[in-house]
């Protein structure tokens, strides 16, 4: 059961009123954006504990998204690795195929209460874009998704999905034409459309209150996991593992367990071609603190403070920053952050397909690659929970190409 942890000793008490997790987080935005950020924060503080609002989220989470997602004992993988018991939190079974809809649902229900009539979002791999487009169709709100031109080329199926859902996908050609530039463009749209627009940010980054708000919407993953593992095993897991791009699925799984000292928590960043090559997306392993997109956090950057491009085989992890709460937890030493290369993730992807009949997204394949490393070193009565945060249908073309197959 919950040990009583004094609030000051808690890893779960952040952010403070100004949105800081230690030195990380904050509201580093232009004055043009400030009134909007303050308005979102006011609405968020007003509704976050509102019964009606929470009941709305719960209704759609159950009836539309399909929550709770199963906590599944991966028996064959466990036998294959011959070590700790491995459970998957199956958020890939959500409607739209990833955890992203937990967040877009919470944000659009807030936007409706704020009487905002137009939604904008950024997307990298397209998973968040699809999740935003989906709830916009559901609630009949026009939606504009900004997406880097480079990403549009490599994620064609998701671009078409968004179009089918009635969303306008705007190609972003500025900068490096990837996720960070899509976020810049979405912010520019927002300041130009102050009155009627709500910006649904897809990860636990950005100016306060976004990191906190997104974490709260995604924490359903960890809360369910906690109930489910108590039911199946009558104890907490020994290790939690999740992949990290911006960090929303991982903070969602981790947050409810942060004050459980018996639970070891591991975040897995995208190591790309290897940290030494500079071609990676591992902001904590290979970056330094800086300020971008409204918050202070670890960033990939050069010595002059210019933001560097991230690289990963997984477009969903391909972001040069990370949510500020992760930066804080990293410096506190509460969470261990490791990295996994493209190659290791590809191997894990194939192991999962063959042993469990689950085609995972390339993002959680990174988490799985780390599970494959540590499970055999643990005893059979220990438990690992890994967040299977997305399904791999969207990635089959990228995987085929990487394996040298022509479809």
């Amino acid at each position: 059961m919950n040990p009583v942890v004094p609030i000051t000793d808690s890893y779960r008490s952040g952010p403070d009123d100004s949105g800081h997790f230690g030195i990380f987080g904050g509201r580093f935005v232009a004055e043009t954006l400030m009134p909007l950020i303050l308005e979102v924060n006011q609405a968020w503080q007003q509704y976050r504990n509102d019964e009606n609002y929470l009941a709305d989220i719960k209704y759609y989470a159950e009836h539309y998204v399909g929550r709770p997602s199963p906590l599944y004992f991966a028996k064959r993988l466990t036998e294959h690795l011959d070590g700790a018991k491995i459970y998957f939190k199956r958020d890939e079974l959500n409607h739209t195929g990833s955890h992203k809809i937990n967040n877009t649902l919470g944000q659009i229900l807030l936007a409706r209460r704020m009487k905002k009539h137009r939604i904008i979002a950024e997307t990298g791999a397209g998973q968040h874009g699809v999740a935003a487009a989906t709830v916009c169709a559901l609630f009949d709100l026009p939606c504009v998704v900004y997406m880097g031109e480079t990403d549009i080329e490599r994620q064609a199926p998701n671009v078409f999905r968004m179009k089918l859902l009635g969303t306008e996908v705007v190609p972003v050609t500025s900068g490096t034409a990837t996720l960070k530039d899509a976020m810049n463009e979405a912010l520019r749209d927002w300041v130009a459309n102050v009155e009627d627009t709500f910006y649904i940010i897809g990860t636990c980054a950005g100016p306060h209150p976004y990191p906190e708000m997104v974490r709260e919407f995604q924490s359903i993953i960890g809360r369910e996991t906690r109930d489910q593992i108590m039911q199946y095993e009558n104890r907490l897991p020994d290790v939690l593992v999740a992949c990290i791009g911006g960090g929303s699925n991982s903070i969602g799984l981790f947050h409810p367990f942060l004050d459980e000292s018996s639970v070891q928590i591991i975040g897995v960043e995208a190591g790309g071609l290897g940290i030494d090559t500079g071609q990676h997306a591992a902001s904590l392993t290979g970056g330094q603190p800086g300020v971008l997109h409204g918050n202070r956090t670890y960033l990939l950057q050069n010595a002059d403070g210019q933001i560097r491009d991230a690289y990963s085989i997984s477009a969903g992890l391909d972001y040069p920053g990370i949510g500020p709460e992760h930066s804080w937890l990293h410096e506190q030493g509460r969470i261990e952050y490791v990295s996994v290369t493209d190659q290791e993730a590809l191997e894990a992807f194939q192991v999962c397909c063959r042993t469990e009949g689950i085609i995972p997204a390339l993002e959680p394949s990174h988490a799985l690659a780390h599970v494959i490393k540590i499970a055999p070193t643990m005893s059979r009565d220990q438990i690992i929970v890994m967040n299977m945060c997305g399904r791999g249908d969207k990635d089959v073309f990228a995987v085929a190409e990487a394996l040298g197959e022509t479809l």
Binding site: V29, E31, T32, P35, R188, V191, L299
Partner: protein, 270 residues
């Protein structure tokens, strides 16, 4: 506080006209051309110079200024080179105020105190750091004011009177009013509405008020100059650099194009 700004605004008042603030990006399109452009600005009619410190992700700026940042960065722009540029300018002109405009991350990496020390010693007069709102004043604003540099902030059409008063607290030098809701270099403001907003801000401050964003022609400069203390032109100038580059003009020719345009704008205020 450095006095060039105050002196310049007093002189403008005596002349009975608004000042012209010209924005260019340091190092755009390359270090040599950029310095040539900078050096000629006062002669062409610029009263105050706003020099952009290039950043890879200028989220409050439009495509024109973002492209100018990219041109500069592609040709080796860096914080040290930006400061060197101001230093060379100061050797020939000790009267024209220079404001550095940019985003916080390059300063954060350079070291905020080191940046302030260097900026003061080479003759910078003020800073506009786009992504440091009053909520983040502990990052640089307090140290900046203590060091004697002006801290210039933006007000916007969306700022209500409460917000304006938070923005004005710890502001100095002048107030930069953003004419439109949006980013630099896009649509232009409706002049009557703009004048009313500037009047509203005046009731809350005695600082001079400069107006910018979406200002690109002599007639707009003239209209805004009737009620503002200064008018800022930025994207239109960096677009001049861009089109001169596309015509493959020489360094001197690019600088002349920019200077000719500045003179045309300045005429609107005289």
């Amino acid at each position: 506080m450095t006095e060039r700004l105050e002196t310049r605004f007093e002189a403008l008042k005596k002349e009975g006209r608004a000042g012209l603030v010209t924005f260019i990006t340091a190092g755009d399109p390359n270090p040599e051309t950029s310095l040539e452009i900078l050096n000629g600005l006062p002669g062409a009619g610029a009263d105050i110079i706003e020099l952009g410190m290039p950043f890879s992700d200028p989220m409050a700026d439009g495509p024109a200024i973002q492209l100018s940042s990219q041109r500069a960065l592609n040709n080796g722009a860096s914080m040290i080179r930006t400061l060197d540029m101001v230093n060379s300018f100061r050797e020939r002109d000790d009267a024209t105020p220079i404001i550095l405009m940019g985003y916080f991350n390059p300063i954060y990496r350079y070291g905020p105190q080191r940046f302030l020390d260097d900026a003061i010693s080479i003759g910078v007069d003020g800073l506009i750091i786009v992504d440091l709102p009053p909520e983040e004043d502990d990052e640089l604003c307090h140290a900046c004011l203590t060091a004697g540099l002006n801290w210039i902030r933006l007000t916007t059409p969306a700022s209500d009177n409460n917000r304006i008063s938070s923005v004005l607290r710890n502001s100095s030098g002048f107030v930069y009013h953003v004419a439109i809701t949006g980013i630099t270099g896009t649509r232009s403001a409706e002049i009557g509405e703009l004048e009313a907003t500037v009047k509203r801000i005046r009731t809350q401050t005695s600082l001079p008020i400069a107006v910018g964003f979406g200002v690109r022609s002599q007639s707009q400069v003239r209209d805004i100059g009737r009620f503002a203390d200064a008018v800022v032109v930025g994207s239109a100038l960096v677009n001049t650099v861009k089109s001169a580059l596309e015509k493959k003009l020489t360094k001197r020719q690019i600088a002349s194009k920019v200077h000719d345009f500045v003179t045309e704008l300045a005429t609107g205020l005289r």
